[in-house]
């Protein structure tokens, strides 16, 4: 196990290096630069700015400088947000996004697993049909529609929930609902189909023949087997949700990472683009490793190689 983890971590470092390099190359291949979008600065200012951020040096030198700083965990200053480092921006944004995202994933997992299991256990009955219809809608409706509808119902009409910021627990309700809508629906469907499969397995028949209660059959014998596909989905889901959704953060005015990510691109904020990309990649790689380990813990048949 330890050997496996070390191997995976080394592999992750290589992956991240590749991603950083490719992003660096692509970013510099696209014409334009960070200072061109603003109303044209004078030649002299432009030169000074480029010099300040080292953009005047040959690309290979820029690359070398960036990588050596990155190795020390320093992602440099933001080019467009004066006086803030990329590390600061990411850490501030991530704190916010991860909190909202974390709660959303938790909600999605709990509700999705419950609904999916209920549907599977009541196959073809009305409750199953209701859950299928609702979850299909949940997958089809985009998050900005969900956000807008929530906003109209709970804030405009009922005046129950605040519309922006995250200053109280009440503020979390709508963003969490908006963020967890799709994954809840998706997990419900995943869970339903894998639960249906598991319920038809021979070992469930054995469990029943032993005289076990419904509760024991479900929570001991079925759930642990049926949950594997959800665990697989959880890796990428966590990575994407924790880093924030641009749409939901925009609508509910949440100062999260999703916002930073999009604006870094439109602003051509080179260091922030590099920073957010590498951060997201690192998060995905970490989550996937955690999923694989979780897999091994849940299912002893799986060999980590």
């Amino acid at each position: 196990m330890a050997k496996y983890i070390i191997k995976r971590v080394l592999l992750a470092v290589v992956t991240l290096w590749l991603i950083a390099t490719i992003t660096f190359i692509l970013m510099n291949m696209v014409p334009g630069g960070p200072f061109l979008a603003e109303k044209a600065p004078s030649e002299a200012t432009l030169k000074a700015l480029n010099e300040k951020y080292g953009l005047d040096k040959p690309l290979i030198v820029q690359y070398g400088n960036y990588m050596s700083r990155l190795l020390r965990g320093d992602m440099g200053p933001s080019i467009k947000q004066r006086g803030r480092t990329v590390n600061q921006i990411i850490s501030n944004g991530f704190k916010v996004s991860a909190r909202v995202g974390g709660i959303s994933v938790l909600v999605a997992v709990l509700i999705g697993i419950t609904l999916g299991s209920i549907a599977a256990m009541n196959r073809s009955k009305w409750i199953d049909n209701v859950i299928i219809v609702v979850s299909t809608c949940g997958i089809a409706v985009p998050s900005f529609v969900v956000s807008t509808v929530l906003m109209i119902v709970f804030s405009v009409k009922l005046k129950l929930l605040p519309t922006y910021g995250l200053s109280s627990p009440l503020h979390y309700i709508m963003p969490v609902m908006a963020l967890s809508f799709y994954p809840t629906a998706y997990i419900t469907r995943l869970m339903r189909s894998s639960m249906l499969e598991v319920l038809g397995q021979d070992y469930m028949r054995t469990a029943r023949a032993k005289g076990l209660s419904q509760f024991k059959m479900l929570f001991k014998h079925a759930l642990r087997n049926a949950i594997l596909p959800v665990v697989t989905y959880l890796g990428p889901l966590l990575a994407y949700t924790l880093t924030g959704s641009f749409v939901v953060e925009k609508i509910f005015t949440i100062p999260g990472l999703g916002n930073d990510f999009i604006s870094s691109i439109t602003n051509r904020d080179y260091t922030l683009i590099m920073g957010t990309t590498i951060f997201l990649a690192a998060l995905i790689v970490t989550m996937n490793l955690m999923v694989d380990i979780a897999y091994k813990l849940i299912d002893p048949r799986i060999k980590l190689k």
Binding site: T206, R208, K210, L212, P300
Partner: protein, 333 residues
């Protein structure tokens, strides 16, 4: 003989599939005394497993009992609630399923899965249950039981897994053990070992066994009583001697003809009789065997024959027998 342990009367079980009602059991009656070994034989799809499942209240979705009664050890099984059934399953009656490779949960250890049933039906604590589980593994002939307790099903061979299934089935010393083709998935030497083991344990614990199989050799060696099933019906039932030396139903006769000599030591599989099995979606009005029967008469197609009692223990449902009896009575009068 002892008391009646199993009394199945006119049992009908149907599966309500999208394609229609599959009449899996069509008026099945089987009686069995305590301490007996009953063999159920018949070709694939004849309803052997469904009969066994009915007895344990384990008929899978979308099937259910649509008629008849099942009495087991003083319980009226078909009137019992799921909760009442649970107290019996794995305790008074247990089953060894057809598929040893997939019948154990892959994510729990062998020990866990054996101890589970002990903890459920007895008031033993964890340590006592552990000891009992080790004892059971030893009993079913598994070496290094303490080590096996910690292993997962995928680390064991098919024969081992089937032994574990037997250990689970025997954990609470059931009155009745149902063995649904316990050895079909195993190779011949292991087959013999497992069967020997079951007979040995039967003596030790004093339980009754229902042995479901395709293999007439097994039945001949182990069973006192045999029920022959065809198309969801028991077409003939009697002692082993009656079935082997005096078969009266045309299907039973065909079955016996399909194996060369009964005295052969090696076990033989049933060679299917010519023709296709019954379509259970549209079962014929008359004798289910009629389309494949060489002695088929007009009446066979239209009406189901009643049972004819051939001796105290031997009965069969065939129009030929009804005719014989009628003629005999006619002569007597």
């Amino acid at each position: 003989m002892g008391n009646t342990l199993v009394d199945i009367k006119n049992l009908r079980v149907s599966f309500f599939t999208p394609a229609g009602e599959v009449k899996a059991l069509n008026d099945v009656s089987i009686k069995m005394e305590e301490g007996e070994v009953l063999g159920i034989v018949g070709e694939s799809g004849s309803g052997k497993s469904v009969t066994a499942y009915s007895l344990m209240g384990l008929i899978p979705y979308p099937g259910r009992i649509v008629g008849g009664t099942i009495d087991f050890n003083g319980h009226r099984i078909n009137d019992m609630s799921e909760a009442e059934m649970r107290a019996i399953r794995g305790n008074e009656v247990s089953i060894i399923f057809q598929d040893p490779m997939t019948s154990l949960n892959p994510v729990y250890t062998i020990g866990n899965q054996i101890m589970e049933v002990i903890l459920l039906h007895t008031d033993k604590n964890k340590e006592q249950a552990y000891e009992r589980a080790v004892e059971l593994l030893t009993l079913v002939g598994i070496n290094e039981p303490a080590k096996r307790m910690k292993q997962y099903p995928h680390e064991l061979s098919g024969g081992m897994r089937q032994r574990v299934m037997i250990a689970i089935a025997l954990a609470c010393e059931p009155k009745l053990l149902i063995a649904d083709e316990p050895t079909t998935a195993l190779d011949v030497t292991i087959q013999a070992q497992i069967l020997e083991l079951m007979m040995e344990l039967k003596q030790k614990i004093g339980m009754s066994i229902i042995m479901i199989t395709h293999d007439l050799g097994i039945v001949a060696n182990m069973c006192q009583k045999i029920a022959v099933m065809y198309g969801g019906k028991v077409v003939e039932c009697g002692t082993a001697d009656e079935i082997f030396y005096n078969p009266r139903h045309e299907y039973t006769k065909g079955l016996l003809r399909s194996i060369p000599r009964l005295t052969d030591k090696e076990h033989r599989k049933l060679i299917p009789i010519e023709g296709t099995p019954v379509d259970m979606l549209n079962p014929p009005a008359g004798c289910p065997f009629a389309p494949r029967c060489n002695s088929c008469m007009k009446i066979c197609l239209g009406r189901m024959p009643e049972y004819t009692d051939l001796s105290e223990t031997h009965y069969s449902a065939c129009w030929l027998l009804q005719k014989e009896e009628f003629e005999r009575r006619g002569q007597g009068a």
